[in-house]
Amino acid sequence: MSSTMFSGGAGVTEPPDPEVVVEAYAAPEITTEAGRYLRAVARDEVPPRRSVADDDARRLWEIAFGLAARRRFAERAPLAEISRTVAAAVHEHPTLCLPMLDAEMLLRAALGEEVPVDEIDPDVVVAVYVLLFRAIADELALGEDELGGLIVQAEKTAF
């Protein structure tokens, strides 16, 4: 039996079950401006103009960033793997001059590591949350529903 990209190996490929009935499913709606902003960034769209990085927005982005990080990386993932993601995100936005190690430390902290994250400029922190969320969503190739679901989950946790 041959394996495909999605089968996980030669021994686990099975034909789809013809009896499965797919029910109509409506993805939950993103309810906050900050959530819609995050989705727009992740989709490479122009974000809504009225978005403000107030405390609620920052909290939502931090939680969404953490959820995405833990979906992308296993606990104790190799540092080289984490660094690659960070480097790609930082290089994608060269004009922002994001400090690479600050970004890496925030990502490692989100994964539960005890690392030095004090004294990072709050604007850098927000930029890292949003841009790394976008980078990770891209690496995970999240579909529309998965992206929306992740942000809704963050909204539920935040508020």
Binding site: L79, A80, A87, P99, M100, L101, M105, V115, P116, E119
Partner: protein, 147 residues
């Protein structure tokens, strides 16, 4: 007298000054006072690279984070903030990640290098023969770059 014998074994005067500084009560501070000597600064830069590579190559990269935290705690400095990140950035740059230390000014790099090299003298200290070996290798690197 033993100290003088050790210093005499270095190939350069700068090497002698660095070894002398490492015997002082506050080695990092003594090393940073060598900032006016271009030859000592060049040698310290290479000594930092040699020491870091001998210590960390083939180890878990997270050991760098742990080492920096330990060093700062030993020096009673805050280990959760910028100085920890800058020190880690400099060490990992020497290990082959040059992007990490971009944005750190030369003077700051020099100070942090002295801070880490000064730790070679932390008790029990690096054995004398090994320390001489590090300085010797650093001197060779400086000489190679000069040609």
């Amino acid at each position: 007298m033993g100290q003088i014998g050790t210093i005499a074994k270095t190939a350069t005067a700068a090497g002698g000054l660095i070894l002398q500084a490492l015997t002082d009560e506050q080695p990092a501070r003594s090393l940073s006072r060598l900032a006016d000597s271009p030859s000592a600064v060049r040698l310290l830069r290479e000594l930092f690279i040699v020491s870091v590579r001998r210590s960390f190559v083939r180890r878990d990269p997270r050991d760098v984070t742990r080492y920096v935290a330990d060093l700062l705690e030993y020096r009673s400095l805050p280990s959760g903030g910028e100085i920890a990140r800058e020190t880690e950035a400099l060490i990992r740059t020497a290990l082959g990640e040059p992007d990490l230390a971009r944005g750190i000014a030369d003077l700051r790099r020099f100070e942090l290098s002295c801070f880490v090299i000064g730790d070679l003298a932390r008790p029990p200290g690096v054995p004398q023969a090994e320390l001489l070996g590090l300085v010797d290798q650093a001197e060779r690197r400086v000489a190679r770059r000069a040609t």
